[in-house]
């Protein structure tokens, strides 16, 4: 299987606190990789390394190496904006921009200089369809995105990321703020998206990881304890900590 990301000896410090310690793992193409672990274990920090969102934290300092498509992407001079175009991100809480539904999805392409209205229309429609939102909003694309329900907003955020035609989509607990029905729709959506995209998802819910992911990484206290196929992690974990966690004994 082709590796999209290859992470080697990655450590990250906030001032003196080591948030990630010597992480080593590969993320495979067209697979769903779930990152699990108790709060504060570093899984969100890790996912933010992949599209270099940690650059925004002035005190964060990083060592090690992350390769994206075989190219080291954490060095200075690397095209961060290009990386973020290819690696989309969906956040914990739905965060549509305070503009219309159409403008939300068109935002990314527009910032890249796409002005042609017809082309934008095509891009927006395709993204909304992929995010399984089009049928619900096609007649009110000019309404404010804030009029949508929470679940719809989150799918809009996914559509917004898809409009950039990324290779990878990072999802940081995308369903933690949603009700069970909306959660289920997102999970179905992830299943569909897997065919075309590589997905990395941080989740608090073991069931969710078990349901939708192909690979699972278990983080604990900033360390990657175990990384394997999801069924292995959930049925035959090699480490005791992993077993304790996935069986719900702590966390």
């Amino acid at each position: 299987m082709k590796e999209v990301f290859y992470v080697e000896n990655l450590s990250l410090y906030y001032r003196d606190f080591a948030a990630l310690k010597d992480i080593q793992l590969a993320i495979y193409k067209n697979q769903v990789t779930a990152l699990i672990g108790p709060s504060g274990c570093g899984k969100s920090t890790f996912i933010r390394c992949l599209n270099r969102m940690n650059d925004l934290i002035p005190e964060a300092r990083m060592t090690g190496c992350v390769r994206f498509d075989g190219e080291e992407c954490q060095v200075s001079g690397y095209d961060v904006i290009g990386l973020r175009k290819k690696v989309g991100m969906v956040f914990q809480k739905p965060n549509p921009f305070p503009m219309s539904i159409f403008d939300n999805v068109a935002y990314g392409p527009r910032q890249q200089g796409l002005k042609n209205k017809e082309k934008l229309k095509v891009v927006v429609e395709r993204a909304l369809k992929q995010a399984a939102l089009y049928d619900e909003v096609y007649d009110r694309l000019n309404d404010s995105a804030l009029t949508l329900s929470g679940g719809q907003q989150q799918r809009l955020c996914i559509a917004r990321a898809l409009a950039m035609e990324p290779e990878v989509i990072l999802m940081d607990e995308p369903t933690s703020a949603l009700d069970p029905i909306a959660t289920q729709r997102i999970e179905t959506l992830i299943e569909d998206l897997k065919k075309e995209y590589t997905i990395v998802i941080v989740t608090h819910s073991m069931q969710q990881a078990a349901r939708i992911s192909d690979y699972t990484a278990f983080f604990y206290m900033g360390e990657l304890i175990e990384y394997d196929k999801t069924d292995v992690i959930f049925s035959l974990p090699k480490h005791k900590q992993t077993e304790d966690y996935v069986t719900g004994r702590f966390g």
Binding site: M53, G88, P98, D103, A145, R160
Partner: protein
């Protein structure tokens, strides 16, 4: 509120409450007092014969383009219609200058400047906000009027001592700058960071994010700042009157022509006047309050409309 007592108050407490209530009610009544007394005096020139001079015609007062037709102390043909237009024109024109500068300064303080520099800039804004208006007027007269005069001359235009529209606009813009900056900065800082992160994660640059997302998300607060600034500009008196040139007819729109506002007309010649010429200033005051009130109402309505629709 959590700390409010639910049990019955002791005797001393209920007495305290009653005494303090008097202070509260008096404080709250001042706005009523202002409206009442000034309106009563402001209406008087229209309904009395002003010691035999005849009453002031209300319609003429609201619409005429000349401040006073006929000699002072004899005529009652006052007109303030052009003053309303000029006052609004000057306030909005000054906003045209102060708004972009203020908002961008706020953006710099909230999003670009490193911490110590942001703190310094906040100090600059606070200091500017606490400078009295008379000082702005002085700098307007001493610094800007000669500059405007020379500018007008070099453009082949007439400008009496530099007094007029441009001077007023500059002075008002400088005065409203700190208001706009301070309020915009607060609302820019309050923008949900995850919105900005979402934009960055979509491959937008920090600059694009600031202009397309941050300012958009903060627009309601920024608009409030603008409304406050307009209110202040409409009511500003001393600084404006020093640089206005006090045109007695209008409306004047030219950048180099002398101008006047409701407030500058209230102050004009105040030292040496009595009778109807004094009383009419209260009518102008009432007019000023109405103009400010209506402007605020209209702008707040627009703000609500704009705040709800995202296009």
């Amino acid at each position: 509120m959590a700390h409010k007592n639910t049990y019955s108050l002791s005797k001393i407490d209920s007495l305290t409450t009653r005494v303090l209530w008097i202070f509260g009610i008096v404080s709250a009544s001042f706005i009523v007092l202002i409206s009442l007394f000034i309106t009563v005096r402001g209406v008087r020139p229209f309904i009395t014969d002003n010691n035999g001079l005849g009453n002031v015609d209300l319609w003429r007062f609201l619409t005429d383009t000349v401040w006073l037709r006929g000699p002072t102390f004899v005529s009652t043909a006052y007109g303030a219609g052009f003053l309303i237009i000029q006052t609004l024109y000057l306030a909005f024109l000054s906003l045209l200058l102060s708004f972009p500068i203020g908002v961008l300064t706020a953006l710099f303080i909230a999003k670009i400047a490193p911490k110590p520099m942001a703190a310094m800039m906040r100090g600059v804004v606070e200091l500017m906000a606490s400078i009295p208006s008379i000082v702005f007027g002085l700098v307007g007269v001493g610094f800007f009027l000669p500059m405007i005069y020379n500018l007008a001359r070099s453009l082949g235009q007439q400008s009496p001592g530099g007094n007029g529209t441009l001077g007023i606009v500059i002075v008002l813009a400088m005065m409203s700058l700190p208001t706009i900056t301070a309020i915009s900065e607060v609302s820019i800082r309050a923008v949900d960071q995850s919105l900005e992160h979402a934009s960055l994660a979509l491959g937008a640059s920090p600059t694009q994010t600031r202009f397309k997302i941050t300012l958009l998300a903060a627009k309601s607060g920024i608009f409030s700042g603008a409304i406050l600034a307009i209110g202040r500009a409409l009511g500003e008196a001393t600084a404006v009157s020093l640089v206005a040139g006090n045109a007695r007819s209008g409306p004047n729109f030219g950048l180099f022509s002398i101008n006047s506002t409701l407030t500058s007309t209230m102050l004009e010649g105040l030292k040496e006047t009595t009778g109807i010429d004094y009383d009419i200033r209260f009518s102008v005051g009432v007019l000023l309050m109405i103009v400010i009130l209506l402007t605020n109402l209209i702008l707040n309505t627009i703000k609500k409309k704009v705040g709800n629709v995202h296009v």
